[in-house]
Symmetry: C2
Subunit: 83 residues, 2 copies
């Protein structure tokens, strides 16, 4: 497997991993055990990983971090709604 | 800022982001709102990002994903303990 394929699979996994959390909060309307600080710091990190991907020109890093950032913002909004 | 520095800062942020979650679970002894599926899929993805970092020879990716994997395993263990 080449690095591009590994990166795409890795990015797909770390990205889709947030979907079960979104579904869980949506179903239970409860997010009190989630650390808002975790998602805030994580989103800042993802934004920098995205910058890193752009600088080194690695498309899997760019795509994965764009989608991850979207899901994290959704979770953050749900956390604020269902604290 | 060069890509190495951006990668190190990005990796530090996405890695340390899990510490507030570990502290929160430790304090409340409660992790029921956390999706175990999220952390399982995420850890598999991190393992592949680590592989990706090794293949393309990018040290920030390797270091960040090693430490992240450690924190995720801690959260997974706490989630199983305090479900």
């Amino acid at each position: 497997m080449d690095s591009f394929t590994i990166g795409i699979v890795a990015g797909t996994l770390t990205t889709i991993s947030f979907i079960p959390q979104i579904i869980k909060i949506y179903k239970t309307k409860d997010a009190k055990d989630l650390s808002i600080l975790m998602f805030l710091i994580f989103s800042l990190g993802v934004l920098l990983w995205l910058t890193y991907g752009i600088v080194i020109g690695e498309l899997p890093i760019i795509i994965a971090n764009c989608v991850t950032l979207f899901f994290i913002v959704v979770i953050l909004a749900m956390k604020i709604r269902y604290r």
